[in-house]
């Protein structure tokens, strides 16, 4: 996908949303200003050491302290503070076109859309509409961060936080947990897929439908191994709420909370040796499922599009 050195899917300055663009503008002002100030201070220090002992007066030294150490920073900092606060105001939208609920879990993401649609580890957003994302957690503190689209907000048990994003660029962006949340924190990722509004509406409609197909040997195997105790597949007996909803699992792009590309071999490895792919993961490994049953189950899961 991306070679080392190129900007990647988590680049702050991808410009993938209005919010990220506002922060980027602020950031470049800060970087440029900081660079200039650093050079000036270094030049002054050099000059001070070089000119040591030459015709400098106490008065000129005091003037330098007053202007350089007090007046200049006061003015610059006040201006920056104003700019920062204006930017803050501009990136927190009061109104929104769409509301999502994202709950942080150890170590994955439960994503809810209007109309009772629940998915996992994948946040789909329509381009050009302002989405309000309500952030919660039940176990420990997590933090929702999709750097290409903007800043992060923590997900704290007992609270509901709010983040607004207005995507401007269609694409598959990276997201991750930014607050250390125990064991597998490093592998708690998600994808943010920005879609054209029409495509998004169609996708949401599909997603609202129950699972297709609703029966078969793969489902039998799934239920027989007890997977339904943790996972929901809407339209079937599997109604567990502990792990990710798998109703449209086959339509997702990744596995294991954004860390693996979803394909047949990876899925098999995931089911049989879960914690070798993601140490600390709460899902137990199932190394002893009979091969035939396992293949049926994989067929079934991948068919849930």
């Amino acid at each position: 996908m991306c070679l080392p050195g190129c900007s990647g899917r988590h680049y702050w300055f991808s410009g993938a949303s209005e919010e990220a663009q506002s922060i980027e503008t602020l950031a470049w002002i800060l970087f440029a200003g900081a660079g200039v100030i650093w050079l000036i201070v270094m030049a002054l220090a050099f000059f001070a050491m070089r000119s040591s002992g030459r015709s400098n007066t106490e008065k000129s030294a005091r003037r330098m302290i007053l202007w350089g150490g007090f007046a200049f920073p006061t003015v610059v900092l006040a201006a920056l503070l104003g700019t920062g606060l204006l930017t803050l105001k501009s990136i927190v939208a009061e109104r929104s076109d769409l509301t999502l609920e994202v709950e942080g879990e150890q170590w994955w993401w439960r994503v809810g859309y209007p109309g009772g649609v629940v998915t996992a580890n994948e946040v789909r957003l329509p381009r050009g509409r302002t989405a309000e994302i309500l952030l919660t957690a039940d176990d420990v503190i997590h933090s929702f961060w999709a750097p290409a689209l903007g800043g992060k907000i923590d997900m704290i048990p007992g609270r509901e936080n709010r983040l607004t994003l207005t995507p401007t660029t269609v694409g598959n962006w990276g997201g991750l947990c930014a607050e250390y949340c125990g064991g597998a924190h490093a592998q708690m990722r998600f994808n943010v897929i920005v879609m054209e509004p029409d495509a998004f509406d169609a996708w949401l409609e599909d997603e609202a439908a129950p699972a297709q197909p609703e029966s078969g040997p793969g489902l039998e195997a799934f239920l027989g191994e007890g997977c339904g105790a943790c996972h929901t597949i809407r339209g079937t007996e599997a109604q567990g709420l502990v792990g990710p909803d798998l109703t449209h699992f086959g339509a997702r792009t990744s596995l294991g909370a954004g860390i693996l590309a979803l394909d047949r071999d990876t899925l098999r490895h995931w089911i049989t040796h879960t914690d070798t792919l993601k140490p600390g993961v709460k899902m137990p490994a199932y190394p002893d499922i009979p091969t035939e049953e396992l293949e049926d189950m994989i067929d079934y899961l991948l068919s849930l599009t």
């Binding site: 680049y11 220090a45 400098n56 302290i65 007090f70 961060w145 903007g150 125990g182």
Partner: protein
């Protein structure tokens, strides 16, 4: 200074007298050798131990950093396991902050402060030694855990609910909470010692405005420790009570709130940054005038800036919580405060530059490190201005940009100045010089390595790499930058290896350094070469800021014993105590010499904390009892001693008393300062109560009956009654009614303990159960705090009665009783506030009465 006009001229020099005095001083101040060395308490020895131990912890945490950098060098690496990595980054932060950065300040200050002040020692040498042993035991306990795969792994910030739930994090968290609380005891002990050292042990004549900048910084930082560490101790107490006994403080299902910890932690944690930073700036402020050959320009501006930073630093903590979803109005306020702290910092830096400009700059290794510090720190300060802006912080927070930023500030603002200080003061401590050539090697390896490691990290953060991840994938695109950072880290480590070699290499054949080799102006360079254990030959009157530059012939007068206390005729270690503002001589303080009691006390107190970690309650209780017994032994035999005569001749016609009590005595000030810290911890608990009140619609919650009003009031009355009895006892003792005073001292503890029992009963009667709801737990923890303090106070009273009975406490020699009375003043306030919160607050806060 009128009193100096009355001084007699010095006696003519007499070689025989000089030698006799020197030999008596040497006898008194000589340090124990061999195994008995461990009983030493003198500041230069304890300071040296402190310094070496902190550096050992630094190396430990540095090795952890190298391991982490090796793991991150390439994507999808499996050098370290996830579990080990999580322990490693938790320990790296914890050890660097708690076992290196703060203790090293105390180490340097303990070593240098008395000498800079022209004093012989700090006022409480045994307290320094006790603090050191606590630090060593606690530090080894915390660090050692990693070898048993039991190290804390919840991050150095220990956020609940991850840390509050024993199912989420194991014994490591308890080790962190209890081990660090133990070490904080040492930090606070050192802070008390240093504050009083600066305020009361200055040489005669050194008014506050003549005090060297270093001492100002020590005073400011000591004060900050006093107000910053206690909230963390309060937080530790709450967190450990939740972990060990299920008391509810952070569990949202039962009315707790995880954000309470974040507030308490960062009320400590942000000042902590400046507690680390200011002492290092103090080193620059001391070193720079020496090599500029010019007094600091804007001396008072530098002092004001340091004080300003200290105040501001307590108003910035929320900038660590910008992403927690606080209202924009709070974010704006704390953003402004965070920006503002750059102004006093800027003033200090420009004062330094102005001094260089006016002086005649002499290049040297210490100045090389100081210049490197400036380059790095200014960079880190500028990124600090960035992250103080909320929108930028929303991107940067918890990313590698912050890792880069904080290392630029801490390494530029703390480590490089410290290294400058090591090169500068090495000859002061050992009478040998470090190598210039190796110094340059060390500097360039460290400076180059540091920037190679941390400059790219800003960009790694901008590419979206979060902190505290043990692995990342190839597709993330962070591999190259991480490889560069890892290489830089190892280059930097090589620089430290060069430094370590230079410091530790045998220097037997190397000639002794010249006396005052850098030609500095401050008093610590008045020491003879080779160094003598007495600190200073005779204690001079100081009338300038840079006495060695500005007071002609001072060294000769000091050496010939022409100033005060040139002798130790009574065979006691003696310091001169002066008043706070004008440094007029007040009395001669005798300080105790070598002892093992401090080590014994530290071991037993360590036992309390360590056994409690494993919930071994019987050994915990035994250690506790042993600690109290050892402490009483230490105090009984070492403090409040009645001198054999009332006053002594300090030479030059200056006669000073040998005893002081009440607010003249250093012990009274120590009690006062300790209790200020204690009250701050108590206010941490009060903060918890008020915080819960703000986050709940009704606090106490609907259906909960607040503690029984009648019993509470009775309890308060009894506690105040005990306080009144103690006061009366103090007055009666002073008036000579010793028998009656003793009786009161035996009744007061019973009254006080009954009082706190009544308050506890008030909670029981209302059926408050600390495992049910945060309200119940908060009420109980306040009662518990009061009970513990009243119990300690209750022990002090029979102690005083026994001292009186044994003849160690008389109407005139009443320092013990005066100090205990002061303690009880604070108890009265604590009891009153507890009563108001538990008894009155529910009536006015709209809770269910």
């Amino acid at each position: 200074m009128s009193w100096t006009d009355d001084l007699a001229p010095p006696a003519p020099y007499d070689k025989a007298r000089d030698e006799a005095q020197r030999s008596r001083l040497l006898d008194v101040w000589r340090e124990p050798t061999g195994w008995r060395r461990f009983s030493a308490v003198n500041n230069s020895i304890v300071g040296r131990w402190y310094l070496l131990t902190s550096f050992a912890f630094f190396v430990f945490a540095g090795v952890l950093a190298l391991l982490m950098r090796s793991q991150l060098a390439v994507p999808e690496n499996d050098l370290l396991s996830m579990d080990f990595y999580n322990q490693a980054f938790t320990m790296h932060g914890t050890v660097m902050m708690f076992l290196f950065a703060v203790p090293i300040f105390e180490a340097v200050a303990i070593m240098v402060l008395p000498e800079i002040l022209g004093a012989r020692d700090l006022p409480f040498p045994r307290l320094s030694a006790f603090g050191y042993w606590c630090f060593l035991i606690g530090g080894v306990f915390v660090c050692g855990s990693i070898f048993f795969d039991a190290a804390p792994d919840g991050g150095w910030f220990m956020y609940p609910p991850l840390s509050s739930d024993p199912k989420q994090t194991g014994i490591g968290t308890d080790i962190w909470l209890l081990g660090l609380s133990f070490i904080e005891v040492a930090s606070i002990a050192a802070a008390i010692e240093l504050i009083i050292g600066v305020l009361k042990c200055r040489p005669p004549g050194m008014r506050l405005n003549l005090m060297p900048l270093y001492c100002w910084y020590v005073l400011v930082v000591g004060g900050m420790i006093l107000f910053a560490f206690p909230p963390l101790i309060a937080g530790d107490l709450l967190l450990e009570m939740e972990r060990a006994f299920g008391w509810v403080f952070f569990d949202v299902d039962k009315g707790g709130d995880p954000l309470l910890w974040q507030h308490l932690f960062w009320i400590f944690g942000h000042p902590e940054v400046y507690i680390i930073f200011l002492p290092s700036i103090a080193l620059i402020a001391t070193i720079l005038p020496t090599f500029a050959r010019h007094p600091m320009v804007g001396h008072s501006l530098v002092v004001l800036s340091a004080v300003g930073i200290a105040f501001l630093s307590f108003g910035l903590w929320v900038h660590h919580m910008f992403t927690t979803g606080l209202p924009n109005i709070s974010l704006s306020f704390f953003s402004a405060a965070s920006e503002a702290v750059a102004i006093p910092t800027g003033v200090q830096i420009f004062c330094f530059l102005a001094t260089l400009m006016l002086g005649r700059f002499v290049p040297s290794i210490p100045m090389l490190f100081a210049s490197g510090a400036l380059a790095i720190f200014v960079f880190g300060g500028l990124t600090g201005v960035m992250v103080a802006l909320v929108p930028f912080d929303w991107q940067a927070h918890d990313s590698y940009f912050i890792v880069a930023h904080l290392h630029y500030t801490l390494i530029g603002g703390m480590l490089f100045p410290l290294l400058a200080g090591i090169y500068y003061w090495y000859p002061f401590a050992t009478s040998k010089m470090l190598s210039d050539r190796l110094g340059k090697w060390a500097f360039w390896l460290m400076f180059g390595g540091f920037n190679t490691a941390f400059l790219p990290m800003h960009w790694t953060g901008i590419l979206g790499m979060p902190r505290r991840v043990w692995t990342y994938s190839l597709e993330d695109g962070w591999g190259l930058l991480n490889m560069v950072s890892t290489a830089g880290a190892f280059i930097m480590a090589a620089g430290f290896a060069v430094l370590a070699w230079d410091v530790l290499r045998p220097k037997g054949k190397q000639p002794l350094a010249a006396r005052n080799p850098w030609n500095a102006g401050t008093m610590e360079w008045s020491g003879e070469v080779p160094d003598m254990p007495w600190g200073i030959r005779s204690i001079p009157v100081i009338s300038t800021r840079y006495p060695l530059w500005q007071q002609d012939g001072l060294l000769g007068q000091v050496d010939r014993g022409e100033w005060f206390l040139p002798d130790a005729k009574e065979g006691k270690r003696e310091l001169m105590v002066t008043d706070i503002l004008d440094a007029r001589p007040m009395f001669v303080q005798r300080v105790p010499g070598p002892t093992y009691k401090t080590l014994l006390c530290a071991l037993l107190l360590g036992g309390v904390f360590i056994f409690a970690t494993y919930h071994w309650w019987v050994p915990t209780a035994l250690s506790g009892i042993g600690f109290v017994a050892a402490l009483i032994w230490w105090l009984w035999t070492g403090t409040g001693l009645i001198p054999e005569k009332d006053s002594k001749d300090c030479s030059r016609g200056l006669h000073l008393p040998l005893y002081a009590s009440g607010s003249r005595a250093v012990g009274w000030w120590a009690m006062f300062i300790m209790m200020i810290g204690d009250m701050t911890a108590f206010f941490g608990l009060v903060f918890a109560y008020m915080f819960f009140w703000t986050v709940h619609e009704s606090f106490p919650p609907v259906g909960t009956v607040p503690p029984d009003a009648l019993y509470l009031l009775l309890g308060l009355a009894l506690c105040l009654g005990a306080w009144a009895l103690v006061n009366t006892a103090c007055v009666w003792n002073r008036n000579g009614r010793r028998e009656a005073a003793r009786t009161l001292l035996l009744i007061a503890p019973i009254v006080g303990l009954t009082g706190v029992a009544a308050m506890g009963w008030a909670c029981l009667a209302s059926d408050l159960n600390p495992t049910r709801h945060a309200y119940d737990a908060t009420c109980w923890v306040l009662i518990l705090w009061l009970a513990g303090h009243i119990a300690a106070g209750a022990l002090m009273l029979p102690y005083c009665a026994a001292r009186s009975w044994a003849g160690h406490l008389t109407p005139f020699h009443d320092a013990d009783l005066r100090n205990v009375t002061l303690y009880w003043h604070f108890m009265a306030v604590t009891a009153l506030i507890t009563y108001l919160l538990l008894g009155i607050f529910p009536l006015v806060s709209g809770g269910t009465a």
